[in-house]
Amino acid sequence: MVDNPLWVALIVGGVLMFVTLTGMAYMTWFERKVLARFQDRLGPTRTGPFGLMQPLADAVKLLGKEDLVPAAADRVVFLLAPIVIFVTAIVGVSVIPFGGAISIFGFELNLFAADVNVGALVILALGSVGVYGIVLGAFASANRFSLLGGLRAAAQVISYEVVLGLSLVGIFMLAGSLSLREILVAQQDDLIFNLFGLSISLPNWYILSQPIAFVVYLIAAVAETNRAPFDLPEAESELVAGFHTEYSGFRFSLYFLGEYINMIVISLFASTLFLGGTDGPGAASVWGLGVVYLLAKTVMFLFFYLWLRATLPRFRFDQLMGIAWKVLLPVALLNILFTAFVRLIANDEITIPAWVWIVAAVVLAGVLVLTSLNDRANRPRPSAQAGD
């Protein structure tokens, strides 16, 4: 850990932003290739080897497209909204720790732009400010498809933002910090169990201690970035293109950039929080291996996004809101209480006598047996109406 002077931090931040933009460009290529393979096609092949020049061609094409503003639109808001979503998406990468001190050309520096003590909150906050870009753009367009898409986006993002935030509380409790760097450091110790004389060593990654939170986070993250199967704000079968229907040229591209960069940032965030980030075998000793681990975990999450998109049909809007409020929110809250309870026992704040555990286990088993019997009794009998 060295102190980055301001100018070094700015250079690191600039490089990270540049890398993220390049990564976003190749994310579009990756998405088209992966989706094509899922559908037994080849994807882009004509632009360079394996179509690798495709993102460049797309960018040049979009830069040459006319930037239309509808006559009825609120001009200033319409023109500024895409910048809001682009900025909030890309600044998130500045608080992600890509590793601690590393020496590059004999120069010691930290591989993150900003180490704030509430890094996790910064990412959540940027996500919720980003929805302004969608809603303002949609309202300023004076188009009914945009309006409907923008409303859906607003309701969806604020609902899932609550879930996303609450799903991470268990991790903040275990790490005792909201700083992403400290959460990263907390995951680098090994957990050692003694099981029947066999010593098992596991990495202290929070996916192992917070599996419920991980599942809740995964679902909420897909919805938070408006991706399939939760891409209701831009459901092309009903809303044309949703909130960005009226956008063209590079203003449309900024929305596109924002969406993909959001995916990358939220995947980096998930890798850092749940999968140990730069942690991995040999990461501490081999130069640059930590960054490779982090990127590999992130690509895994990104592939998971594409896999979902290729596999699942789109949800209905009432289902979408129902999952957030009726399932994920109670589960996230119960997970917090459960984590807190286990933490109290681990800290020896409360001690529970053995007979309580036995009674609890018996009661739980009894409840399970009774409910399964009850289900069997209530199941409708086949054959009664079959003859009518």
Partner: protein
């Protein structure tokens, strides 16, 4: 443990926000320099899948969205209370756990009321 002031890191984030905005603005300006501009009445009309617009769009929508917004405010404020509680949880001990249990009980009470009132239904 890093004991320095966190101020300079916020300056970095602030400068990066300005840089990102400048980058976005520069790309848009480049687009306006390169791209052709041939405005016409048809291009300026709202997109209606090829049909002329009959009535201008009015920003009216179902009140359910307001209900979601109110629920969001309630639970986001709850999250604001829970985050610092989680960070200092080890120091608070049993008392902190019981206090949060009471808080969550009251909140769940209201949540179940809203649920039974149909605030979460979209049909």
């Amino acid at each position: 443990m890093n004991t320095q002031l966190y101020g300079s890191d916020w300056v970095v984030i602030g400068i990066l926000i300005l840089a990102a905005a400048a980058l976005g603005y520069a790309l848009l300006t480049l687009n306006q320099i390169i791209a052709p501009s041939k405005p016409s009445a048809a291009k300026a009309a709202p997109y209606e899948s090829g049909v002329p617009e009959v009535v201008a769009t009015k920003p009216r929508f179902t009140p359910r969205f307001y209900v979601v917004a109110m629920l969001f405010v309630v639970f986001d404020i709850e999250a604001i209370f829970i985050f610092p509680w989680a960070v200092v949880f080890d120091g608070l001990g049993l008392y902190g756990f019981l206090a949060m249990l009471a808080f969550m009980f009251l909140l769940f009470d209201g949540f179940i009321y809203a649920w039974k009132k149909g605030a979460l239904e979209w049909a």
